[in-house]
Symmetry: C2
Amino acid sequence: MARATIKSIAKETGYSVGTVSNALRGAASVKSETRQEIQAVATRLGYRVNMDGLKLRTNKSYRIAVLVSVSPDAAEEWEGVEFTRILAGISAALQGSRYEMSVFNVADIPDAMTTLARIVQDGLADGVIFSGTLHDDPRIAFLQQHAFPFVTMGMSDSKMEHAYVDFDSQAAAFDATARLVRLGHRRIALVNPPAELIYATQRQTGYEQALTDGGIPIDSALIFNGSTTARTGQNSFDALMRLPDRPTACICANEAMTLGVLSAAHAAGVRIGRDLVVISTDDLQLSRYFVPPTSTYYVPIEETSRLLGEYMLKALDGANPSETQKKIRATLIERQPDTPALHTAPTK
Amino acid sequence: MARATIKSIAKETGYSVGTVSNALRGAASVKSETRQEIQAVATRLGYRVNMDGLKLRTNKSYRIAVLVSVSPDAAEEWEGVEFTRILAGISAALQGSRYEMSVFNVADIPDAMTTLARIVQDGLADGVIFSGTLHDDPRIAFLQQHAFPFVTMGMSDSKMEHAYVDFDSQAAAFDATARLVRLGHRRIALVNPPAELIYATQRQTGYEQALTDGGIPIDSALIFNGSTTARTGQNSFDALMRLPDRPTACICANEAMTLGVLSAAHAAGVRIGRDLVVISTDDLQLSRYFVPPTSTYYVPIEETSRLLGEYMLKALDGANPSETQKKIRATLIERQPDTPALHTAPTK
DNA sequence: AAACCATATTGAAACGTTTCAATTAGGTTG
DNA sequence: CAACCTAATTGAAACGTTTCAATATGGTTT
């Protein structure tokens, strides 16, 4: 039993293929009784549009490209990003639309650029979603220049407005820092993503603002940038321990970095929660299983990525950028007792 | 400048579309000079086949469905599976072929079954890849019944041969257990995935065999099954501690479970490496950052998943199942000193 | 009753590809 | 030279869809 097509419905109902096509798309030119009759037959026969025919005719791809970065240099490392959940959220949002999600693995920014060029030129997709926005992001510039629809995870510094879903990293960093300051900490380290990332700057801004509000001078020796891996956390901790005036607290950007800090602290015999208070941002709710568990600012990743998909559909529908922008606040989950700063810094 | 098509190449070369089509596919019926001439023009014009036209004509989808399980009940948990790397491996293998990878999110087995039904009936894909094979796996039965090509990550107990890539879980569990037995451990716990998974059985078989070889009785109170999450590790540890005769070692199935055990041990004041030796299997190389780091049997996940893609292509090419089956050995990475079993079990 | 209008439907072309029967050209055999 | 064979190429149909000019139908206005 072959799949029902417009042609088979035409034969069944006696109308022409043109009418059936128009009826199925709910065109006003078709008399409403006719439309209902045709639609009834269509559902009876279990008609589902053949996207290949549709795409061929319309020259649209009905595809949303999702750029997923798999950096080979971090192959031996874990970057703490659960892309599965992001993809799940996006495809959930696309459910019911004619669009489907298509995953494009990219290694780095140049690779992303060539991929985007292919997508735009060869019409591989009708829209793009990607994350990790940079300062002067070349991907955004390219897509805007070609008037190609896209949604980013993370906002940008582009002059031109565009669709995005962002975490309020600045607010989270501010809150975390202010909280530590209130507890009496004056030497607070920031373990941050690479500086070219917009949200690294956002975090640093929030951090510095809270310090300034608390009358604490900013010390660049306490700020670290690196890939969001455990190794970076480890390296940062080791560097911190070499400082003459050691920090009593540390704010990490994600679970992987936190894990690295805890790991290095354990190796160095530094007691987390007493000698060093660690607080981080968290998508996977993993920090509750750390030794010891750490307090985190939690962001619901799946819900967030559903928004990515929804905004993509809106953008393809020609929506105004202002309707497709959202900043999501993280919520604090406390797992460590509010430990005040100790007066004496730990000695190795 | 529109994209080159067979038609435009026909016009350019003076041959008919039929000849061009045959030439581009390297058909022997086309004279070799003609073929070369046409192919030269094709590359000059940057011709790339339009898959929509191709698919419409051939009624093939040129698509490989990858079933990715995103269980909503584990939404708040981390299952320790890095699907990003799996997808990257598969799409790397598909690179250069005409096939593309398509991600299908499924919540559970029934959901997977309806998804598979749609894939098979509506021709959504030409082949399927999925992981987590079960005893009497209904997915495998369904696909075999419909003679639909597929490759599994993990072998099955199906009577009919099929393509798979598997880790040698049994060997890894055997080695791990035997190693602990050599160190004098006699009470060894096994923290295992749900029993319906084939590899849970494989692990248990290896474990029991090593115990039997060492003359140690098998105690079912030391065997735990549950989702591969940190919570399961935590729960297992708590149950272990309630036993009158506590274990001195524990073998975990993945990083997430290991993390849960470490976390619970920390909470209970049990010293890992002294009171309890933990060893696990590991895909992400994450265990080296645990507190304390744990020894693991490591499986290179990206390379493994590239095989999944390669076998899929072979299977679509009608390859014999025997050419598309592989069992991969894990390699031991030691991170804890070889701690012998203590005589006195820890008291809480 | 002729002319016009609005509404509903039709028919055919087009998107890019493969496939296959039919055709052509050239060579070999009887 | 007629008949046949082989090799190379052509032409057209088909896949499922949209789109749009053309047509048909019936009603209203002049």
